[in-house]
Amino acid sequence: MSDHHEHSAHGGEEGHSPEHAHEHHEQSFLSKYVFSMDHKVIARQFLITAVVMALVGMVMSSLFRLQLGWPNHKFWLIEYLLGDHWGKGGTIDPNMYLALVTIHGTIMVFFLLTGGLSGTFANLLIPYQVGARDMASGFLNMLSFWFFLISSVVMLCSLFVEGGPASSGWTVYPPLSALPQAIPGSGTGMTLWLLSITLFVISALLGGLNYIITVFNMRTKGMSMTRLPLTIWAFLVTAILGVLSFPVLVSAVVLLLMDRTFGTSFYLSDIYIGGQALESSGGSPILYQHLFWFLGHPEVYIVLLPALGIASEVIATQARKPIFGYRAMIGSILAIGFLSFIVWGHHMFITGMNPFLGSVFVFTTLLIAIPSAVKAFNYITTLWKGNIKFTPAMLFAIGLVSTFVTGGVTGIILADSALDVPVHDTYFVVAHFHIVMGLSAVLGMFAGVYHWFPKLFLRQMNKKMGYLHFWLTFVCAYGTFFPMHFLGLAGVPRRYYTNSAFPMFDQLVNLNMLVSVFAIVGALAQFIFVFNFFYSMFRGPKSEQNPWHSNALEWTTPMAHTHGNWPGALPVVHRWAYDYSKPGKRLDYVPQTVPLEEGEIDGGGH
C-alpha cells in the first residue's frame, strides 16, 4: 500500500535510540509518573481516573435506583450521602434526582467510555501495535490527559455548588439548561458543566489528532494498513469521528454559554418564565438539538467502536482462530463510521421536524444495521470451530457480542420513526441504549483491562475474582436493563423521579424493585473488580512476556516499562496479526514478526 511511507516512518525513528535516552537521564518521579509523556503511563493515568469517575457514576445510579425501586422508603444512606438539603429525611429531592441522572449519564458517556476507554487503550495499544516508540507527540498526549483530569475535577466540583449540578439531562437541552429560573441546576452547576465539557473536548481533540497521526505515520516497517490489528482500525476511525464531531459540540456549548451569560438568543424565543416575559427572540431550541446530536450520534460509535476493536482482538486470540472476514470487518468499521454522521435526526423525530426529513433519517439509520449485522456474524463465525480459551477477558468479549446484538435489535424499532412515536423517551429507550452502548462498551472495556493488564502493570489479575466479577456483572446487567423494555411498553417515561403520580404505573412496582435489586447487586460486584485491580497491580503474580500466545506486536516488548518500548531496533512486520492455528505451523500462533515462509500467503489467503 505505501512502501514509501513505511520506510520514512521507520527511517525517522532510527535517530532516536531508546537505550541512550534512558541511560543518560534518570527520570524523576514527577516526570516519570506525573508529567509523563510516555504513552504507557498516560494510558494508566487515563484508566485510573476513569475508574474513579465510573465509581462516582455508579454510586449515583444506585442512589436513584433506590429511589425508583422503593419510592416512599427512607434510606439512611441517601441522607448520609446527599446531606440535609438534597436528601432530607432519607428521600431524594426531585431536583437532585434529575441532577444525579444527568451527571451519571455525563460521566458514563464522556468520562468513562470516551475519555477512559479511548484514552486508556488507544494510548496503550496504538504505539505498541503499530510498532512505534511512542505517540507522534508525547507532549500533546500529556496535555490530553491533563485536560481530561481537570475536566473531571471541574465536573466533580459542580456537585457541590449552590443549586446543585447540571440537571437538565446529559443532553442539556435549552431552554431548560439555559434558564436558572427553570431549574436550580441551571445556575452555577450548568456553567461548570459547560466548562468541563469544553475542557473535555480539548482533551479528546488532542488525543484524537495524536492517534490519527501516529497510525498513519509511525507504523513500523512492513506494517501496512491491511496488516493492522482491528483494534487499531477501530481506534483510528473512532479518533476521526471524534475530531470531526467534537468541535460541533463545542460550538453548541459556546452558543449556550452566550445565551446564558451575554443575553444572546441563539436557542431562546418567546419565553415567559418566573412571572416575566424574556427579551429573547428569534432563536430556536431545535437548533441546539441538531448541533448536539451531530456529535451525539457519532459519540455512541466513539463509545462502541473501541470496545468492538478490543473484542476482535480478544476473541481471535482466545478462540485461537483468525478473526473471520478481516477485510469485511474493516469495511464495516468504515461504513459505520461514515453512516454515523448522517443519522443524528433519529433522536428528533418528534420535535416537529419535516416528515420527509424524518424519512431520510429512517433510511440512513436502518442502513447502519447492515454493517453491524456483518460484525456480529463475523464474531460468531470466529468462535465456530475454535479452540476457545475462557480467560476472563474472553468471557467479557463474548458478553459484549451478546449485548451488542440484544441492544442492537431494539434499535431497529427506535429507528423506525412511526414506531418511535409511542416509545420515544420511555424506558424502552433507556433499555436500548444501556444494553447496546453502555453494557457493550463497559464489557469491552473490562475485556481490555483483563487482557492487557500484564502490559499495563506487568502482572496478572486474579482469575477467580475475574470469573466471579464477570458472571455477577453479566447476569445483573441483563437483569437490570432487560425488564426496562417492558416498562417502556407500558408507557413509563424516562427521567421521572417517581411514577407514583400515575396510578396506572402502580402495577409496575415489583418490576421496578426487581430492576433495583439487580442494579445494586451488580454495583456491589464492581468492588470485586476494584479490589482485584488494585491488589493485582501491586501483588498479582508476575506475568510472562506473552501470556496469551498472541501474535500482536505489543507482546514482543519486554515485561518492563522501557521508554521507547523496544530496547533494540524496532520490530519488522511480515504478516497480518491473525495467523492463529495456521496449518503446517508448529505452534498455534505465528507472531507478526515471523517472516513468511517460501510460498506462504499473507492475510488469510490460501
Partner: protein, 341 residues
Amino acid sequence: MIQVLVYVAIVLLIITVAQLVRVFELASELKGAKSNEVNYKDHRTQGKLIMGFLIAFFAFFIWQVFNYKDMLLPEAASVHGKDLDWLMWFNMWLVIIVFFIINFLLFYFAYKYYSRPDSMATYYPHNNKLEMIWTVVPAIVLAVIIILGLKMWNTITEPASQDAIVIELYAKQFDWTARYAGKDNVLGRSNFKNIGGANALGMDTLDPAGLDDIVVHNELHIPVGKQIEFKINSRDVIHSAFMPHFRIQMNAVPGMTTSMHMTPSITTDEMRRKPYVIDQVKRINEIRAKKGEEPYEFNYILLCNKICGASHSNMQMNVVVDTQEQYDTWLGQQKAFFAKK
C-alpha cells in the same frame, strides 16, 4: 463516631481480604501449581456456565413475557394506533427471532468449542459467499421494514383534514392547558407578551377568531370517531405531549407551534369495560389498597415526556373520550374564555 468506626471497619476488611488472597496464592505456589493460569478445567467450567447462562437467559425472557404482558398498554384507542400496533408487533417479533437465533449461536458455539487438551482450531479466515449472504439477507429484511415503516409514517404525518377539531395543548411548568377553537374552529392569535392575570395563554383580545375560544384546565374531552388536531405550544421550556393510549406524541417547543392528529376510536366508558383493562385495574387497586390509597378508575392520560424540571414526573391531564352526545353536552356547558369576564 459511628462514621469513623464504619470507615475503620471497611479498611480492615479490605486489608483482611487482601491478606487472605495473598495466603491462598502463596499456598498454591508452594504446591507448585500455577494456580492463576487459566487451564482446561476452567475452559470446561466456563463453557458449561455459558451454556447454563444461555438457557437461563431465554427462560428469563419467557418468564418476563408471561409476567409482564398484562401490564403493557391496552390496545390502541385511536384509528391509526391499531395499524401502528400491528406494525410494532410485526417488527418486535422479527427482532425477537433474531435475538434468539444470534444469542443461541453465540453462546452455543462458545460452549461447543471450549478448549480441550487435544483440540485444535480450524484455520478459517474468510468465506466470501457466507459474508455475502449475511449482508444481503439483512438488507432485504431491512428494506421491508423501511417500506412498511415509512408508509405508516406518512399516514401519521400527513396534514390533518379540514374539518378536524382543532385544540391547542399549552404546556408550562408544570401543567397542561387545553384551548378549544370554538364554533369557528379557528384558534385566536396568542403571544407570550400578553400573558398576565387570568390570561395564562397570552390570548390576543383583539382577534375576533379568539372570542369563542374555550380554555380548559383539568380535563380534556374529545369525541370518538372525529379527527382531532392538536396544536402544541409551550411558554417556558421544552415539554412533550404524550398520550400513550392513542400512540401519539409531539414535543412542545417554545417559540414554535407543533402539531399532531389522531382519531379516537374507543370511548373512555368502552375502554373501562374491556376485560384486559378490568384485570389491570383490579390488580392496580389491590396494590393501592395495600398502600392505603384510593381506588383507581381507568382514564386516558396526557403526560409530559420531556424533562422539564422538578415536577416533570407529575405534569398530567386526564383525557376523556366521549360519545358525540356526551361531548356536545359537555361542550355546551363550557363558556368562552372572554365571555367569563
